[in-house]
């Protein structure tokens, strides 16, 4: 991985000078030209940065690795449990991040409490890993309300369904925090498909121009629903997009939680210390279908899935830990049963019907309902009362 480096500004130099005005002495000199930022340190490495299974792993903090292992195991269990709950009709839909848990948990782990996370619609796990109550985090997907948690309480923005639209929010928040003199970094998540949206571009540019303390993590999981990366982008890597904004681009193995954590930590640190934004591309894979409603066999080969399934983020960390004697069967068992407990609690809580109040439709549109909304609320109230009355009468019969 490249060292973070502050952008280099070349001294202004007359280019004509260097090439010489060979023929036409009368020719006026061009005004000074300056490359404003040295592109070299912005360019990503040619291959994804890895820690696990490399020499760098030896330097990784064992406590951190164990903590991430716990998160990964719980994360995987969360994904399977949530998918199971869709089959039982307890969630309307669930976009699983199975296979991408290393990105999800590293994104949560790398932030300080005062920092903000801006998740995309697939990132419920990152939200939960950041500490949001899982039932609150799943409210959107259960369907009793939209965002189920208080963003200010957890410093987690709403899960964003319209792709890439949350990225400018992250930039604006980070910028505002810096203007206020607060030490706050924003980390925003987006998919490979989301990088094609105009909002991605505008957010990246604002971040770079404002030198906002924000980190963009692209989870390149190979697909946008059915559309493979090759139909999405012809870029050498998505990390190369950074150069065109004047920010560093970093490429990381998205299944290697230690690597993702290290790269994000460096980027967060750069942001925190005034070095501006970073774009990180994590190369990973979406093991499950797009959502439970999707049939991935229509557009991809089992072989490809199998190859990635073998390169499992949980298993490669486990192999590392076991290889270094940091994990034994007993500890693995303890972690696994903790995850089971988490899943059982989740099942239990989601098997209860949520309390919903139809009148809430009108409660949050404005600080004060408009006269029109008051009228409409009264109409619904009357309908509900009438229905309750009818039920009451029927019940009395």
């Amino acid at each position: 991985m490249k060292k973070s480096s502050t952008p280099v500004r070349e001294p202004a130099a007359k280019t004509t000078g260097s090439r010489g005005a060979t023929r036409s002495g009368q020719r006026p000199a061009a005004p000074a030209w300056r490359v404003r930022t040295d592109p070299a340190p912005l360019l990503p490495d040619a291959r994804p940065f890895r820690v696990l299974g490399t020499r760098a792993a030896a330097d990784a903090d064992p406590a951190l690795l164990l903590r991430l292992y716990g998160e990964l195991v719980r994360g995987r269990r969360f994904n399977t449990q949530a998918t199971a709950l869709t089959r039982q009709g307890r969630l309307a839909v669930y976009p699983s991040s199975a296979g991408q848990e290393a990105c999800e948990v590293a994104a949560a782990a790398v932030l300080a409490e005062r920092d903000w996370l801006f998740p995309s619609y697939r990132d419920t796990l990152a939200v939960v890993s950041r500490g949001v109550d899982p039932v609150e985090a799943l409210t959107l997907l259960r369907g009793d309300w939209h965002t189920g948690y208080d963003p200010h309480r957890y410093r987690v923005a709403p899960l964003s369904t319209p792709l890439a639209t949350q990225l400018p929010h992250a930039v604006g928040l980070a910028h505002a925090a810096r203007l206020k003199g607060d030490d706050v970094v924003a980390l925003a998540l987006v998919g490979d498909g989301g990088t094609s949206e105009g909002d991605f571009h505008e957010a990246m540019n604002f971040a770079a121009v404002w030198q906002a303390p924000v980190v963009f993590l692209v989870q390149n999981n190979g697909f946008a629903i059915s559309v493979p990366l090759a139909k999405q982008s012809a870029a050498p890597t998505l990390a190369h997009k950074a150069v065109g904004y004047g920010m560093p681009g970093r490429l990381v193995d998205g299944n290697d939680v230690a690597a993702v954590h290290a790269v994000l930590a460096e980027a967060v640190d750069r942001a925190r210390t005034g070095g501006g934004p970073t774009l990180v591309e994590a190369v990973t894979y979406r093991i499950d279908a797009h959502t439970n409603a999707d049939d991935a066999t229509r557009y991809r080969e089992d072989d490809e899935v199998a190859a990635w399934r073998a390169y499992d983020p949980v298993r490669i960390l486990e192999a590392e830990l076991r290889g270094r004697g940091l994990l034994d069967d007993a500890e693995a068992e303890r972690v696994a049963s903790g995850a089971e407990e988490m899943a059982a609690r989740l099942r239990e809580r989601l098997n209860a019907d949520p309390a919903t109040d139809p009148m809430e439709l009108f409660g949050h549109v404005y600080a004060e309902p408009t006269p029109q909304l008051r009228e409409q609320a009264a109409q619904l109230r009357a309908e509900l009362d009438a229905a309750a009355g009818a039920e009451g009468r029927e019940g009395g019969r």
């Binding site: 369907g143 319209p162 094609s196 439709l361 409409q376 309908e383």
Partner: protein
């Protein structure tokens, strides 16, 4: 018109869904005219998230049915360029709210190109947008955005409510030399009707409403996803002694004043029914037109039954938001019947 429809589907009609009819219209249009190109997110290999374009890439190749990058302004913007070069692009927006990133292309170019160029650059371009709620979608998946398009001169705005119209209107949209916003009511995708893909309905010109049920007491004016609600309400109203006429607009732009006004002048009462927000929604325009043109025939104010003026609710609450049979009947009951008798 109902008679014609009945005739057309007489021989060998089998049950088909609206989704199938739309797909068939795309297929037939592509087969008839090599200039017709389909593009959008996931329309190729996957066949679209609603499977509307299923099989088209296979039959016509990736260049005729193209998976684009994920960028709606780019999709619509490149479609404009393709139309400039003589193609007839049919764009699929994956969901209503995901058409918004393309709003500038739509308002500033798609709607205006013919006019800006004094007729030199017409844009034969169709934008298919699945719209509306009732399918338990999470936020941003259930918007009824027709008001935005109605307020933008230069666009045609149509929406089928029946399997047969889905085919006929889409063929007409693709055949049109003007841009057409083709709004597909998501919750009717799986509605079925006897319809013969062997002898698909002749393409009707865009801009004609149709009386779906004749009646004498009052007129329900509706379109798209609310048509079944209105027909059901009309059946239920018989118990109350009301014989309701139901007009399916089919085309919001151009608007068929003639059919609507003829009906309301006869019945003397009208309720506009749609899923979209009430305030600033399509119903305002419709009610205003009807009120103005039928002023001396109205026994009661034109009422509106619409979605509430709130962002579309989450799945568990949408049932309270969507105008249903009861709410339509409540409105009919408020049409000042006492005053008359």
């Amino acid at each position: 018109m109902t008679t014609v429809a009945a005739q057309r589907t007489a021989g060998g009609a089998k049950p088909a869904t609206m989704a199938q009819a739309i797909q068939r219209a795309l297929r037939d249009a592509m087969a008839d005219d090599p200039a017709v190109h389909v593009l959008g997110e996931d329309v190729g290999t996957l066949g679209g998230v609603f499977r509307i374009t299923d099989g088209l890439a296979k039959e016509f190749g990736d260049d005729r049915c193209t998976d684009t990058p994920l960028a709606e302004a780019g999709i619509l913007g490149t479609a404009v360029g393709m139309a400039m070069y003589g193609l007839r692009p049919v764009v699929e927006m994956q969901f209503d709210a995901f058409a918004y990133p393309s709003f500038e292309q739509l308002a500033s170019h798609v709607a205006k190109m013919r006019n800006r160029t004094g007729g030199a650059l017409p844009l034969p371009l169709t934008v298919r947008i699945p719209y509306g709620g009732g399918i338990g979608g999470v936020e941003h998946h259930s918007d009824s955005s027709e008001a935005y398009y109605m307020a933008t001169p230069g666009l045609h705005v149509v929406t089928p409510a029946t399997v047969e119209d889905a085919y006929g209107l889409l063929r007409a949209a693709i055949a049109s030399d003007d841009p057409v916003i083709f709004l597909e009511p998501k919750r009717l995708y799986w509605s079925k009707a006897a319809w013969s893909p062997q002898a698909p309905a002749a393409v009707e010109p865009i801009g004609k409403a149709v009386v779906r049920r004749s009646g004498t007491s009052a007129t329900l004016i509706t379109y798209g996803p609310s048509l079944p609600v209105c027909l059901e309400a009309a059946e239920a109203a018989r118990a109350e002694g009301w014989d309701l006429e139901v007009v399916d607009l089919r085309s919001l732009v151009p608007f068929d004043d003639e059919t609507v006004v003829r009906s309301v002048r006869r019945t003397g009462r009208a309720v506009v029914v749609h899923e979209s927000v009430g305030f600033g929604g399509p119903g305002g325009e419709i009610a205003a037109r009807v009120s103005e043109r039928c002023f001396h025939h109205l026994e009661a104010p034109v009422l509106r039954v619409a979605g509430f003026d709130v962002p579309y609710p989450p799945p568990m609450l949408e049932g309270h938001h969507l105008p249903g049979v009861d709410r339509v009947l409540d409105a009919v009951a408020r049409l000042q019947w006492e005053a008359e008798s």
